[in-house]
């Protein structure tokens, strides 16, 4: 049923329908509305879950780990500083192969402190073994949670996932969202069947330590699981399309790419603005398209190369920076396009919530086509 609602609320409503048994929550702007909504749902007997008001994000994810290992589907949400505090636990959760789904309401990292959006937080954990899905709008944000649980809990995968949606830009804006019913969600996402769990009937020791004799092979297996996640995502996305009419069976999605000479590459809500900019540029006769990356991890390198065949200029919009070496997405796209002959440029844009308008996207295309790239776009040189 289509309803206009705040992004955070849409996420909370979908999470409720995914029936987590344990929710652990620590508030941090701009995720707070999600966890507040969930608390109200529990208080109203709408959500049958144990809601733990933990004492920090570090504990939030640790509690999720315990509950997941004991056999429950779990949920948490965070961003920015909170995700950074969870850093240690993130690696631990992925290594322990717990299928935890966590919303990241993307926000920039301090210092300097900023509550506004960019994607530095989740991207900085790209090595952790967590799957990463990025939503373009609030419908996708909602849908991706269902898909995430399905992919993570697949016994072929058993990895945790970040479902990322841009803080404030998506979390706090009202958009029309089609929320499925509880029955529809139950049909798509059955009850959690753990691969193994803490159980006095079948005791196991979880999280033992690995000597040099074993460590590498464990890490290899996680890497392999991450690669299998591609197929699992496509499968889950196709099933989603069949049931709900919105297809997610692609790790990347092209927009007006077919005959494009220049392609933008981006993740998240900026894709919405970029699509409008592309339409305007197309109307003016320019052959521009957009490649939206939906799954950042596992990184769809070959899929990107395939989608951008024939494109001569690529402009990557990076809402993050690997300080000293440019944007993370740009670096990885360049690697995927190695040998293709395309000119690939990386633009650091919109950090810390700086607004991006259609004319900014067009300006980036201009720069790329002139061969000027690998830069911070839109610096206020007057304050430097």
């Amino acid at each position: 049923m289509m309803e206009i609602m705040e992004g955070s609320h849409a996420v909370a409503e979908i999470v409720k329908r995914c029936r987590p048994q344990v929710v652990s929550a620590y508030p941090i702007t701009p995720q707070t509305h999600i966890v507040e909504d969930l608390a109200q749902m529990v208080a109203n007997c709408e959500l049958d879950a144990e809601y733990i008001t933990v004492e920090s994000e570090f504990s939030a994810l640790s509690a999720c780990l315990g509950a997941s290992a004991a056999g429950s589907r779990v949920y948490s949400a965070t961003t920015s500083q909170g995700l950074a505090l969870m850093f240690e636990v993130c690696f631990n959760v992925a290594g322990m192969r717990q299928p935890i789904v966590m919303t990241i309401a993307n926000r920039s990292l301090g210092a300097p402190l900023s509550i506004w959006n960019d994607q530095q937080d989740s991207i900085s954990l790209r090595d952790s073994g967590w799957l990463q899905f990025y939503a373009e709008d609030n419908q996708e944000a909602a849908d991706l949670h269902m898909i995430a649980y399905k992919v993570c809990e697949d016994h072929d995968v058993l990895l945790p996932a970040f479902v990322c949606f841009d803080g404030f830009i998506l979390s706090h804006t009202y958009e029309p969202v089609d929320l499925p019913s509880q029955e529809e969600v139950d049909a798509y996402l059955p009850a959690f069947t753990p691969y193994q769990r803490l159980d006095a009937e079948e005791p196991l020791s979880f999280g033992m330590y690995a000597t040099p004799e074993y460590y590498m092979e464990f890490r290899y297996e996680i890497d392999q699981a991450m690669r299998r996640a591609k197929e699992a995502f496509i499968r889950a996305g196709r099933e989603f399309g069949e049931q709900f009419g919105r297809d997610y069976s692609a790790l990347v999605e092209g927009y007006r790419l077919d005959d494009a000479d220049t392609a933008l590459v981006a993740m998240g809500s900026i894709c919405g603005t970029a699509k409008d900019a592309v339409d305007e540029m197309r109307d003016a006769g320019r052959k521009v398209g957009l490649l939206k990356i939906r799954t950042y991890r596992p990184f769809p390198g070959p899929e990107i190369a395939e989608a951008l065949k024939g494109v001569s200029t690529v402009a990557v919009l990076d809402k993050n920076i690997s300080l000293g070496n440019g944007g993370a997405v740009g670096t990885e796209v360049k690697s995927a396009l190695y040998g293709s002959g395309a000119a690939v440029y990386d633009y650091i844009i919109a950090l810390g919530g700086r607004d991006v308008r259609k004319r900014d996207i067009a300006a980036v295309v201009d720069l790329a086509e002139k061969g000027e790239g690998d830069m911070f776009y839109g610096l206020r040189t007057e304050v430097l």
Binding site: G95, M96, L158, Q196, L204, F206, G207, F218, E221
Partner: protein
């Protein structure tokens, strides 16, 4: 042998590690003077002191590390640590 997901393992494998090889001193139990109090079995950090059919106690030398706690706690001084001849 396939790795277990999440670096997990079922019980029992520690027994493959025969820590008796660590020993320098080995305990010698004298059933004659044993009062059958069971303290030795209770406080062995390896859990490798077992009750015999007669109700006295003996060490499992596969695992005994020769720490000497049993000798120290025995109220009858019925256990003696001896340098082991290898």
């Amino acid at each position: 042998m396939a790795l277990r997901i999440g670096c997990a393992a079922p019980p029992g494998r520690a027994l493959e590690n025969k820590t008796g090889a660590w020993r320098v001193f080995k305990p010698v139990f004298d059933p004659e003077t044993c009062s059958r109090c069971g303290m030795c079995a209770l406080v062995c950090p390896e859990g490798c002191v077992h009750e015999t059919e007669e109700g006295t106690f003996e060490p499992d030398l596969d695992y005994c590390k020769g720490c000497g706690i049993c000798e120290e706690v025995c109220p009858k001084k019925s256990i003696r640590m001896e340098k082991e001849e290898k």
